[in-house]
């Protein structure tokens, strides 16, 4: 019984591990692209709510507001923009350099980091302003996959620790059918 356990666990672990390698393999096989996206902002969401891209891609982002003035603060990429309704031109700044706004109609970002980065509204636009956010997911999402592997790791390790040890309880084995 114990031996079957161990083999089963090992097989499971192996298959899980291979499953997690898979997305890496796919991602590495892809070439960096230029992606052109128009993000529409409204009270209280962005459209598209989730942008998926690969590391190394270059994003060309246009921002449009459908109703009132909104912001666009992309974390991890030092971008903060302010979008007015009915105006394809908006102002953008780099938060690390203070409040030097410049006018533009497109933001160009080269994605060097993987993971999930949220873009948030940085300009009070109404009641649900603090919850107005979207997600930029840059694959391969190393932090997430490491987290998943560690979650399995924690579970397996604890179960392994708790699984009954080698001492053969001969009566039990024989009584099993």
């Amino acid at each position: 019984m114990k031996k079957r356990f161990r083999r089963l666990k090992f097989l499971l672990a192996l298959s899980l591990f291979s499953a997690t390698i898979f997305p890496f393999a796919i991602a590495f096989g892809q070439m960096s692209k230029h992606r052109y996206i128009t993000i529409h902002a409204r009270q209280y969401a962005y459209d598209p709510p989730i942008i998926r891209a690969n590391i190394g891609d270059t994003l060309h982002i246009r921002l449009v507001s459908k109703d009132v003035t909104h912001g666009f603060y992309l974390e991890g990429h030092d971008i903060d923009a302010e979008i007015e309704p009915e105006n394809p031109v908006f102002r953008v700044r780099n938060p690390s350099q203070g409040y030097n706004w410049r006018s533009t109609s497109e933001i160009v970002i080269n994605l060097q980091k993987s993971g999930k980065f949220r873009y948030r509204c940085s300009h009070t636009c109404g009641f649900l302003h603090p919850f107005m956010q979207g997600e930029l997911v840059v694959s391969p999402n190393y932090p997430y996959w490491v987290g998943v592997i560690l979650a399995f790791g924690v579970a397996f390790w604890l179960l392994w620790q708790a699984s009954p040890k080698e001492e053969v309880k001969s009566d039990d084995d024989r009584s099993e059918s």
């Binding site: 019984m1 409204r42 209280y44 969401a45 962005y46 459209d47 709510p49 989730i50 603060y73 974390e75 991890g76 938060p95 980091k113 993971g115 999930k116 980065f117 949220r118 948030r120 940085s122 009070t124 109404g126 009641f127 649900l128 302003h129 603090p130 919850f131 107005m132 956010q133 979207g134 997600e135 997911v137 999402n141 932090p143 997430y144 490491v146 987290g147 998943v148 560690l150 979650a151 399995f152 924690v154 579970a155 604890l158 179960l159 708790a162 699984s163 009954p164 039990d172 009584s175 099993e176």
Partner: protein
């Protein structure tokens, strides 16, 4: 059994270690002094909610209650000092003071079998409601309107003011802290999650309580301390759930038998009823729901929840019904399946004692407690990292009227390293998963006599815990 001995050995007697601490908590003015600053703050919050700007991030009630206080409560207070908030909470303070007709003193006397002079009707709370079901429903109700609660100052003001009023009225009708024990939504989850906390107030030697002590002053009161407002008898207190750390018993114990211990994380493991198990389900599902609706990118969900502004009644009903269904039926059903599978597999070893599915269902729900707590911390963390700068600006302009009390009114919104939140969240979830599984395995060993049966019983629940953890990770970081 061995785990309990291990835990006992690791406890540190805080009164022993810090002499000033015991002196401080024995002061009659201790609780009053702890409450007073919070009374000032919550009073300001309620006034600001009523008379201040209707814009959430310009009003002190929204920023201080839902960003600062909530974060401190769930991430700093609960894991370390448990229900310490209940000691200093200003909402039931007026109730206490009216019940006692004194602010810091103690009145010996005889009322309803207690050795204090108490005012009010001092009725017994009905037995049928002496559980946390009302708190479960209350918290779920607040959660359903959460998007309104945390963005509209007036809603927060009415809820907080209403709780204070209710607590005061209840104190005049029922004995002790009836509001805190049976109705307060915050109390509901504080009670459950304080099982994980690293501080506890216990009697040093229960034999002295049971065999030597004639007066049971902790429960009944004396001329040195009020009867426990949480209706606790220290001779029986074995977990943190219903102790509000008010320290009256420390003052009144004639045998100086009560002390504050520092203990390992997740030392209380015994969930005692369906009401508490359901609290664990509700809190875990709500952590997920809040992360999806409030911190997710899906605008249509926010529209549905934002009933008073968007007016989408059908959407709101779908949202509310789904929330209640998953909390009260959906998730418990999935958990039940995991428990049943574990039970079935464990029972395949024929010589096991009668561990009922009911016992497993209730006791194993504790595994959701550390995971739920850490999930809530992970949820609260980006809120403070992103919006913490509002704390400074709103401090100087609490009503959004152009004041500048401390010179910080013009601080603009500045997120603090929000891109690192995902890493911290993943780490927190892993800690929660670790303790959830580990405590589950300990509980399993306590229930099942056989090592292998205990192991088997926990495997499906472990799978569920891993799935839940990965779901949170996907939401936060994936």
């Amino acid at each position: 059994m061995t785990t309990e001995v291990k835990v006992e050995a690791q406890k540190v007697d805080l009164f022993d270690k810090f002499k000033g601490l015991k002196w401080m908590v024995k002061l009659r003015s201790f609780q009053f002094l702890a409450i007073l600053p919070n009374l000032v703050l919550f009073y300001i919050f309620i006034l600001a909610g009523i008379f201040g700007s209707p814009i959430g991030n310009a009003n002190i009630i929204i920023i201080f209650v839902w960003i600062l206080w909530w974060f401190l409560l769930i991430s700093v207070m609960v894991p370390f000092v448990g229900r310490l908030w209940c000691l200093m909470c200003p909402l039931p303070a007026f109730g206490d003071w009216l019940q006692r007709l004194t602010l810091i003193g103690v009145r010996p006397g005889k009322t309803v079998g207690l050795n204090n002079k108490l005012f009010g009707l001092n009725k017994r709370w009905p037995k049928a409601l002496s559980n946390i079901w009302l708190q479960n429903i209350g918290f779920l109700t607040l959660a359903t309107i959460s998007i309104l609660l945390v963005t509209r100052p007036i809603v927060s003001a009415v809820v907080l003011g209403g709780m204070a009023l209710l607590a005061t009225v209840m104190a005049l009708i029922w004995r002790g802290r009836a509001f805190c024990l049976y109705l307060c939504p915050v109390s509901g989850f504080l009670g459950l999650y304080s099982m994980t906390s690293m501080m506890e107030l216990r009697s040093k030697d229960k034999e002295i309580c049971r065999k030597v002590c004639k007066t049971k002053s902790c429960r009944a009161g004396s001329d040195r301390g009020w009867a426990c407002p949480w209706l606790v008898y220290m001779g029986n207190l074995d977990r943190n759930n219903f102790c509000g750390l008010c320290m009256e018993c420390v003052k009144s114990c004639p045998h100086d038998n009560i002390t504050l211990y520092w203990r390992p994380f997740c030392s209380d493991k015994v969930i005692k009823g369906y009401d508490e198990a359901w609290k664990a389900f509700i809190m875990l599902v709500l952590a997920m729901a809040y992360s999806v609706v409030l911190l997710g990118p899906w605008g249509f969900l926010k529209d549905w929840a934002n009933i008073s502004e968007k007016g989408d009644v059908v959407g709101f009903i779908i949202y509310a019904a789904t929330l209640w269904f998953i909390c009260l039926l959906g998730f418990p059903a999935i958990y039940y399946i995991a428990v049943k599978l574990g039970h079935w597999w464990a029972k395949a070893k024929k010589q096991n004692g009668a561990v009922s599915v009911k016992d497993m269902f209730i006791r194993y729900s504790y595994t959701l407690v550390p995971l739920g707590l850490l999930a809530w911390v992970a949820f609260s963390l980006p809120l403070i990292m992103v919006n913490g700068s509002y704390i400074l600006s709103v401090l100087s302009d609490p009503l959004g009227r152009g004041w500048n009390l401390f010179g910080t009114a013009h601080i603009t919104w500045t997120p603090v390293y929000p891109e690192y939140a995902t890493y911290i969240q993943i780490a927190l979830l892993l800690v929660g998963l670790y303790y959830g599984i580990q405590k589950g395995l300990e509980i399993a060993r306590e229930l099942w006599r056989d090592e292998e049966a205990a192991f088997r019983s926990m495997v499906p629940v472990t799978v569920l815990l891993v799935v839940v953890t990965i779901a949170f990770m996907k939401l936060f970081a994936g």
